[in-house]
């Protein structure tokens, strides 16, 4: 279970998250939706502490860390919490100087000190799972965006994180290519992978999210089961936002 309590994040004078509380149950997929600049990425990055919350509490499984303005968490505490997470980035961010399989092995070998052979076996199994084992020895620069993102998903899963954080995993991809990534994430969801994902992709959100959190100007406007929220949003702001998403989707290639 992941519980964010009263997360506040300030960048200088700008308050980007204004006391956000979200709970994600084990094995569930939560989509963060909302207008650009609403704080989705920042909230995700506060979960794996790429950004340190100004105040609030982050709990992942048994690990918990509280933050106060001015207080700086220790390196070990950050690692303890971050070790429970894996992250998939909008721009993939594969390591360009390592092959696909080396990208997946990297965390196991460098951080967890696994022997290379064992790490390679696990990496190959993960590449198979995302349908990329035939490209194990390819350099990232030679892969399509969708293929890179699938390798990135395998890399994030390698250390067996408790939660997979995805920041707009399909928005750098053409619609044809985003399909294969949605497919992979759907499979993971069906297998019970806990995920939190920021997305503009209605197809992605409606297909795999169990819960949806609508975030605007750093606040949770509305949250609930995805079907309810998409079809009967309670708040007018949510209705308007979902209407624009649906329009965009139809202008694109349908939802």
């Amino acid at each position: 279970m992941i519980r964010l309590t009263n997360i506040e994040k300030r960048f200088g004078d700008l308050t980007v998250l204004k006391g956000v509380s979200v709970t994600v149950a084990e094995g569930r997929v939560t989509a963060l939706i909302g207008p650009s600049g609403g704080g989705k990425s920042t909230l995700l990055r506060c979960i794996n502490l790429l950004e340190i919350p100004t105040s609030g509490t982050v709990r992942i499984g048994e690990e918990e860390l509280s933050f106060q303005p001015g207080g700086k968490p220790g390196w070990r505490d950050i690692q303890r919490l971050r070790g429970q997470t894996g992250m998939v980035f909008q721009n993939f961010q594969l390591f360009p100087h390592r092959t696909a399989v080396e990208n997946v092995m990297e965390g196991l070998v460098t951080v967890q000190k696994w022997p290379a052979e064992k790490a390679r076996d696990r990496a190959m199994a993960l590449l198979r799972k995302v349908g990329m084992d035939h490209k194990a020895d390819a350099w990232p620069a030679t892969l399509s965006g969708g293929q890179q993102q699938r390798v990135a998903i395998a890399r994030a899963l390698a250390p067996s994180p408790r939660v997979l954080l995805c920041d707009e995993p399909t928005s750098a991809l053409d619609p044809e290519l985003s399909g294969e990534v949605v497919e992979v994430l759907g499979t993971l969801a069906a297998e019970g992978t806990t995920m939190v994902m920021a997305t503009h992709d209605l197809r992605l959100a409606s297909r795999i999210a169990h819960e949806v959190v609508f975030l605007d100007t750093g606040q949770v406007v509305e949250s609930g089961p995805s079907h309810t929220l998409f079809t009967h949003p309670a708040r007018e702001r949510t209705q308007r936002f979902i209407a624009t998403l649906t329009q965009q989707g139809q202008q694109g290639e349908g939802v």
Partner: protein, 226 residues
Amino acid sequence: MLHWLTLMADSLPSLLWAALVFTVPLTLASFALGLIVGLVAAVVRLFGPAPLAAIVRFYVWIIRGTPLLVQLFLIFYGLPSAGIVLDAFPAALIGFTLNVGAYTSEIIRAVIGSVPKGQWEAAYSIGMSWSQAMRRTILPQAARVAVPPLSNSFISLVKDTSLAAAITVPELFQAAQRIVATTYEPLILYVEAALIYLALSSVLSALQVRLEKRLNQYGGFLEAKS
């Protein structure tokens, strides 16, 4: 004509010997040490506490703003007045190391900064520490971009070691000067010395090409990074 060729052939062994015993070791040692100084200086400037970063900026400012020849004279002829007496070779080694360190620190700082922030984040996201991210993710990518400018520094250094002649290091150029003093054939001897420097830099250029090829094996990642 025959006389010139004989003179060249006769002086070649002592010139090559001077190059082998002084020019090449001085170049290799001061480049290797200078790279270490440059890397540390770059990391301090990028990530270190402000006072240390200020010291590094001061060091780079002094070294880049004053002539190398003056620096060598200060170390070899000047420092003894302050009670620090160095032999010619160590004095030259220190001078060139400091010089290489200052210039390469700027190169290294730029190439480390050129690796996208997302690469740090990707490394952190799979649990790497700062030093693991630096060693495994950032430096290998920075190294590739750094090869051409660092090769420039290396090749300049080979030629700059001729300045060590002025502080009595019997390297290649000084060996040529000595033979000129007895033969009165400056044209031949300095052309010969120049050709040996040219040969040394050509070897380095060839090594640069090979290194770039090797580092380029993973394809056009510079474009793919955007």
